[in-house]
């Protein structure tokens, strides 16, 4: 492929500058700061710091609570991704088939994307409240059966459902766009060839969706590792017994409540490396199965 070459020009540099500045201020600078803090012992009230090498990492990684946080983060990421993507795909297939009222559904399904994570958490706080709503009826039958603040599995289920609910909208938009870009005549040809709707989904639409599927997989996994703070904070606060203490929530808790800036910085670096590694693995092993047409 031929590549276009451009001479250096001040106009080009000036046009790029705002974007580069934003990335620098909001990404590279904080990342560099975190990297620096991760190797020092930072005093919470200012007043100098001490170089401690890998001591922060050693401390974090030898903490059994940290490993349970990694474990629950991985569970949360996989569960929300699978749940959100399968729900989004199902809904998109039905909207694409233009069943009755699909226009209303389409708008309704896109809306949750515009809701901020803490608002989602708060809404689900009411949904999952053991003393009100649906679960109060269940608790009336089986007293004490449902209580987010007592049972770890219930708390994890709750944040997974809330997280997935929030991510469905995003995946739905992409799945629907991809489905609608499949030429109608292909579906018709398959119908003439005798394939029923479900068969057409499996043989035709899913294979043609693989590029979108892969893109959403990467985005959803990354998002569920890094963007779960708002839901955890409002819904469970990391509890009970640290059962929902996701990595990103723990960074906040250690850094801003425990004032362990250095430990939080080390955890940020680990989280960043983990997400990068996962993305690398996906590109290396999953992308091979993608048909780009």
């Amino acid at each position: 492929m031929r590549r276009a070459c451009f001479k250096f020009s001040w106009i080009a540099a000036a046009l790029l500058a705002p974007q580069l500045l934003i990335i620098f201020v909001f990404f590279y600078w904080p990342s560099a700061q975190a990297l620096y803090w991760a190797f020092t012992l930072e005093q919470p009230w200012g007043g100098g710091n001490t170089w401690v090498g890998l001591e922060n990492f050693r401390k974090v990684l030898s903490d059994p609570y940290y490993w349970s946080s990694v474990r629950v983060s991985v569970i949360y990421a996989l569960a929300t991704t699978v749940l959100a993507m399968s729900m989004a795909l199902t809904l998109a297939v039905f909207v694409d088939r233009q069943l009755a009222g699909y226009r209303a559904y389409r708008v309704a399904i896109i809306w949750p994307y515009a809701v901020a994570a803490p608002a989602v958490g708060l809404a689900f706080q009411f949904v999952f409240n053991p003393g009100a709503g649906i679960f109060s009826y269940i608790n009336a039958v089986a007293p004490g059966w449902w209580d987010l603040s007592r049972y770890p599995w219930q708390a994890v289920t709750a944040i997974v459902i809330a997280g997935a609910w929030k991510q469905v909208a995003y995946s739905f938009i992409f799945f629907l766009a991809a489905l609608q870009s499949i030429p109608r005549s292909l579906t018709e040809a398959a119908a003439m060839d005798g394939a029923r709707p479900l068969r057409r989904v499996l043989d035709l639409q899913l294979p043609l969706l693989t590029p979108t599927f892969f893109f959403l997989l990467v985005i959803n996994i990354t998002d569920s590792f890094t963007d779960s703070f708002g839901i955890v904070d409002t819904l469970t606060g990391g509890g009970p017994f640290r059962a929902t203490d996701l990595m990103v929530y723990r960074i906040y808790a250690d850094g801003f409540r425990g004032f362990d800036y250095s430990g939080a910085a080390a955890q940020s670096i680990i989280l960043m490396l983990l997400v990068m590694a996962l993305t690398f693995v996906q590109f290396r092993y999953v992308e091979r199965r993608v048909h780009y047409t």
Partner: protein, 375 residues
């Protein structure tokens, strides 16, 4: 194999009527071409037969069985789409064999039938390619093979040649006709190209604005177009139409400038009726001024190689004629236009319908009532 009976079929989308009261009988093993300009409803008619659109009113029967409520897969039709609609993620072999796979045909039999079908359309060594790696003509062949392999009762073609270049189009046209002659399945072919229609069809159906204008063999339609619309649509260059008024007493048509064109036969004509006289460019001759039916001025002469197309102007009306001679005449020169009385067509200027004058071009024993087809 099956006949198709279309009875008073109407199709509306919302408040727009696409097609109204179309009735057509297609015989078993017949190759019917539906011809018309874009938007005339021809593709819709095909899709109604295929079951890709729902019929609003009326009835379609294939092989004697009413198929209105049947899904496309239950109708036994195969369709070749305009853009081929090949499955981009499947190889040529998988594309051709998909219908068999869906039908649950065992792998060994499937492979054998795919290989055989691919060979019959000249795709034998491309079975492992993806559609993206094929040329336009090859994709067309895959689409054909995909239809053939199912041994359908009915073949439906939706402008399958319109994406090919001129040379390939002629070649594929021959191939489609050759395949039809071999397997003899009832075929319905939709096109806006009159050459495709004339060359492929056993019978032509000319459509206009959602209804059928005329049904007949290509030569019947060429010889006796049922309306000014068909007259203008079939034949290239298009038929000349001159406005005039019937003069029963003189058995002729008075043109606007007072010229009288005699009509053959001429019994029972309504005196004073406003009409249009049609003369095909290939039936008109160029003669010396004053020696023909009327004189006209040359506007432009187009060289076609085998012949010359002379664009004339007569009383501000364009009139074209084809001539084998190489007239050494410049634009602006006046020439005479000659044609035999039997080479004129007469149409009612109000309704556009053909008026039989008791004699027409290449008069035969054809029954005009049948000519109009099942309109």
């Amino acid at each position: 194999m099956a006949e198709i009976n279309i009875r008073a079929v109407t199709k509306t989308f919302g408040k727009t009527t696409i097609m109204e009261g179309v009735t057509l009988d297609i015989r078993n093993g017949e190759f019917v071409v539906i011809l018309g300009p874009s938007g005339c409803g021809k593709s819709t008619l095909l899709r109604l037969i295929a079951g890709l659109e729902e019929i609003t009113a009326g009835e379609i029967a294939i092989g004697g069985e009413v198929v209105n409520r049947l899904e496309p897969r239950e109708r036994g039709c195969a369709m070749v789409f305009q853009n081929y609609a090949l499955y981009p993620h499947m190889t040529v072999a998988e594309n051709i064999g998909y219908a068999l796979k869906v039908a649950g045909v065992p792998r060994a039999e499937r492979t054998a039938r795919v290989a055989e079908t691919a060979k019959s359309v000249g795709l034998g060594d491309l079975l492992d390619r993806k559609p993206g790696q094929l040329s336009g003509g090859q994709r067309q062949r895959v689409a054909m093979a995909r239809a053939i392999i199912r041994s359908p009762r009915v073949f439906l073609f939706d402008e399958p040649l319109s994406n090919l270049d001129a040379k390939l189009r002629v070649q594929m046209r021959h191939e489609i006709r050759r395949i039809h002659n071999q397997i003899k399945a009832t075929s319905v072919f939709v096109t806006h190209d009159q050459h495709e229609g004339m060359t492929l069809a056993d019978r032509l159906v000319v459509m206009n604005r959602g209804s059928i204008e005329q049904v007949g063999t290509p030569s019947e339609i060429y010889d006796r177009p049922a309306s000014t619309y068909v007259a203008g649509f079939i034949g290239s260059p298009a038929m000349n139409l001159l406005p005039g008024q019937l003069v029963a007493a003189r058995r002729g048509v008075m043109l606007e400038d007072g010229t009288l064109l005699p009509l053959p036969g001429g019994e029972g004509l309504r005196d004073g009726l406003m009409v249009q006289v049609g003369i095909r460019p290939e039936h008109a001759r160029m003669v010396s001024p004053g020696r023909g039916r009327f004189d006209a001025r040359i506007d432009m002469i187009e060289e076609l190689g085998a012949a010359r197309l002379c664009n004339l102007v007569f009383e501000d009306i364009p009139f074209s004629l084809l001539t084998d001679a190489r007239p050494a005449l410049a634009p602006g020169a006046v020439v005479g236009v000659g044609f035999g009385p039997g080479q004129t067509h007469l149409f009612d200027a109000g309704t556009g319908a053909r008026i039989e004058t008791g004699a027409g071009v290449s008069q035969t024993d054809r029954n005009p009532a049948r000519l109009r087809g099942a309109v």
